[in-house]
């Protein structure tokens, strides 16, 4: 039998019983569709988080005070240390060839007021380089001016939301506001609003690091951001940072350096595992769909005994009969997979339309996975019915209807 004859024959068989075929397609569609949607959602979430993290900067290293000895445990994200990470430490780090920029950061919360309006806001003390490291865009005005970081200029850059709440419709740039008991002149407004890794840029106030030191009455930095010149220089820079700080801290290892790519790799791993598990849960439905295809094919075989007997009487071999039935289940599962894929694509499009803030799209390799899995399901669960058909005794098959 020629291939196109086989295809035609199986196709006819599959479409002869329309209601039944549609139901099988429906089952396969649900299975494949849900797997593809789940994979795509997981993949979109992964890309969203990775994207957020990448947008923090490129070739970024984060230095934080304190160190935890339990390997694999969380780094000391909060809390003080006996020896501060100082502005001088930060300045010392900028002196390496593999370091492009550094930005010291002091963080805290303070009441910010204009006239009678007061709001508790997140205050960041840093330097002009923060803008380049974090790719911050300004809607208006300019960022902190470059220059000696130890000079406490009374200027600030505020987020969009803070601007709106404190100044309303009035112009903000050039105006004065009060942070704690100090006065600052607004010189710029941050353009990007939204959440970047837990920091709401819209509710941020950025002031020179020296000003933050006196505002919060502390000499200790919360973080130092270091940008390496190239991805290859990251490891070297890490060593340099550890060496430099150790030398400056009387030989004590009391900082933690987190490299961006290490964090990225961790996130990547976590999200891939998550995507896989969710897709695995979805794939259970494919198994159920497979069982169903097997079931219906078995029914088809027993209903078509006479036909099979006739084929055998006409000289069809067991292999050919087996091939016919396997082709039928493969056609069914592939068609179902195709429809499922299409629905998943539409679903993701719709989701992307409804939630434009997230990069929702079909995972690029999901069509391959869906088709492969569907074909696999169809063939595996098609084997038993096909085998039954193949070994039917022609006399028996013809004898009863």
């Amino acid at each position: 039998m020629q291939l196109n004859d086989i295809l035609l024959f199986s196709m006819r068989a599959a479409t002869a019983n329309r209601g039944r075929t549609l139901l099988m397609l429906l089952a396969m569609t649900i299975g494949v569709g849900s797997v593809v949607v789940l994979i795509s959602l997981g993949d979109s979430a992964r890309r969203y988080v990775i994207g957020e993290f990448t947008s923090l900067g490129t070739n970024l290293l984060i230095v934080l005070p304190g160190r935890s000895e339990t390997t694999g445990g969380p780094p000391p994200l909060l809390g003080g240390t006996p020896r501060d990470l100082t502005l001088d430490d930060a300045m010392a780090l900028s002196r390496a060839a593999t370091v492009r920029r550094t930005a010291p950061i002091i963080a805290g919360s303070a009441p910010v007021s204009v006239g009678n309006l007061e709001r508790e806001m997140m205050v960041l003390g840093s330097t002009s380089e923060l803008s380049e490291i974090r790719h911050l865009d300004l809607a208006q005005g300019s960022f902190l001016p470059p220059g000696d970081p130890t000079r406490a200029q009374a200027v600030c850059v505020i987020g969009m939301k803070g601007r709106q709440e404190l100044f309303g419709r009035q112009a903000a740039v050039g105006q004065w506001l009060r942070i704690g008991d100090r006065r600052f002149r607004v010189i710029g407004i941050l353009a990007s609003s939204g959440v970047s890794l837990g920091e709401d840029l819209g509710e941020l106030v950025i002031i020179p690091v020296a000003a933050a030191q006196s505002l919060f009455n502390t000499s200790s930095l919360f973080r130092i951001l270091v940008e390496a010149t190239s991805p290859e220089g990251m490891e070297q820079t890490r060593h340099f940072i550890l060496e430099t700080i150790r030398a400056r801290h009387q030989g004590e290892d009391d900082i933690t350096v987190i490299t961006q790519d290490a964090v990225l790799a961790t996130f990547d791993r976590i999200f891939r595992a998550l995507t896989l598990s969710v897709a695995g849960i979805g794939a259970i439905s494919l198994v159920v769909a497979g069982i169903m295809i097997m079931n219906v094919m078995l029914v088809a075989v027993s209903n078509r005994r006479a036909e099979i007997g006739l084929l055998k009487a006409l000289g069809a071999s067991q292999r050919q009969i087996m091939g016919l039935f396997l082709t039928e289940s493969a056609i069914l599962s592939l068609t179902g997979a195709g429809i499922g894929l299409l629905l998943a694509l539409l679903g993701m499009r719709l989701a992307a339309f409804l939630f434009p803030q997230f990069p929702l799209q079909l995972a690029p390799w999901s069509p391959v996975i869906a088709l492969a899995v569907a074909l696999f399901t169809g063939v595996v669960f098609g084997v038993l019915p096909a085998h039954r058909a193949a070994v039917l005794e022609p006399v028996l098959a013809l004898a009863r209807r």
């Binding site: 000895e69 963080a107 919360s109 009441p111 837990g198 000499s219 290892d253 849960i281 259970i284 029914v299």
Partner: protein, 402 residues
């Protein structure tokens, strides 16, 4: 006007299913896999739910935490790092004078190197007061905990967490020994029982020193947190309101955040419950496919048994009885599949607990019963269409079909 007896009805249904044994088994298997998935996933979800709640509620539901700064829309407040309006030890003392408050701990946390017994270890240092073991529900293993010194003039005593004690002193005596933390010497007066991990944080890897000493050590003016226990006779919300009043009058503004354990447990409970349902409904997709399976097989059965339906009608069976008969078959398929699925799911979650003891699983009967009811519902819904078709068949047509 007699009605077919329930037992006979049941027999006839089962007979119909048994006649096509393989077919029925496969159809029920589809439902079984679906229900199994739902039960297993909800068991894992519920297990996680219970585990997390147990971790948190070991502190008791009458715990209230106060942090500096007003928590804004999301995440932690920057005030935990630095702030211009500190939360002070005196604030803690003032709260301790509230009649409903049993115990208060003023907490400062940091990371420092601890040297002692000829060894050193970087660890978490907690500045706390005498009430910490009661408030945090941790036990002293040897010696005693920090004494109830005047907060601003506390003596330089230290209590070691289980792990730090092991790392620094091994099996030798630690009591009475001296440890250096960031340039100051402390005398070890006790060590704590092992508590293990709490949500990924190793709370044995810690040293407890008086709050004021820790504030000096870390050069901080503000506490990071005040934890207090209130009498169980008054509600958390009422006590929280009292605390708010006291602090507001001391600070002249609301620059702090009060978190009651009760509220936190409530939120956590909600989140974890939703998670369980979400994961369970992912498993429910398979159940949906299983339902399509029943629909298909029942349609086929109605087709094949057209002659039988005609005969039954000729014998005086009413339309509604035919409907019930086929619905009964669909429901029986689903229910049997459901029961097998329950077995699969419960067995699976047991196995899971055996293989991965760290991940608890807990089969809640509520979900089990809900899953079985769901299976029956699936059978009912999937059976309606074929059963209606069977009932709607014209008896003459049905008889001619054979």
């Amino acid at each position: 006007m007699s009605h077919i007896q329930a037992r006979d009805f049941f027999r006839y249904t089962i007979n119909g299913l048994r006649a096509q044994r393989l077919r029925s088994v496969l159809t029920a298997t589809g439902i079984a896999v679906g229900i199994g998935a739902v039960v297993l996933l909800t068991s894992l979800g519920t297990g996680l739910h219970h585990f997390v709640l147990a971790e948190f509620s070991q502190f008791g539901t009458n715990l209230i935490a106060i942090n500096p700064g007003k928590v804004t829309t999301h995440g932690i407040s920057g005030a935990l790092i630095s702030n211009v309006r500190p939360l002070t030890i005196e604030d803690g003392e003032a709260l301790g004078r509230l009649p409903q408050v049993l115990d208060v701990v003023s907490v400062v946390q940091g990371n420092a190197e601890v040297t002692g017994g000829g060894r050193q270890r970087r660890t978490t240092v907690y500045g706390v007061g005498a009430a910490a073991p009661r408030v945090w529900n941790i036990g002293v293993a040897t010696g005693r905990f920090l004494p109830d010194d005047p907060p601003r003039a506390a003596r330089a005593f230290a209590v070691l967490g289980h792990k730090v004690r092991q790392e620094l002193f091994g099996s030798t005596q630690a009591l009475g020994m001296r440890v250096r933390i960031g340039g100051e010497t402390f005398r070890v007066i006790g060590s704590m029982e092992s508590k293990g991990q709490l949500l990924g944080f190793d709370i044995d890897d810690a040293v407890y020193i008086p709050t004021s000493k820790a504030m000096a050590l870390f050069n901080q003016e503000s506490l990071m947190e005040i934890d207090l226990l209130h009498a169980t006779s008054s509600s958390s919300a009422a006590v929280a309101e009292q605390i708010r009043k006291v602090l507001q009058s001391r600070h002249n503004s609301e620059d702090f955040t009060i978190t009651t354990q009760e509220k936190m447990l409530e939120v956590l409970d909600g989140v974890l419950g939703t998670l369980t349902i979400a994961v369970g409904s992912l498993g429910g997709i398979s159940l949906l496919v299983g339902g399509v399976g029943i629909l298909t097989i029942m349609s086929i059965a109605v087709n094949e048994r057209t002659g039988e339906i005609g005969l039954l009608r000729a014998l005086g069976v009413e339309r509604s009885q035919i409907l019930t008969l086929f619905l009964g078959e669909a429901v029986a398929l689903a229910a049997i599949g459901g029961v097998v699925g329950l077995g699969l799911g419960i067995g699976g979650s047991r196995l899971f607990s055996l293989l991965v003891p760290a991940l608890p699983s807990h089969t809640s009967w509520g979900y089990v019963i809900a899953a079985e009811l769901l299976a029956i519902l699936v059978g009912l819904v999937a059976g309606v269409l074929p059963a209606r078709r069977a009932a709607g068949l014209h008896p003459v047509e049905a008889l001619r079909a054979e």
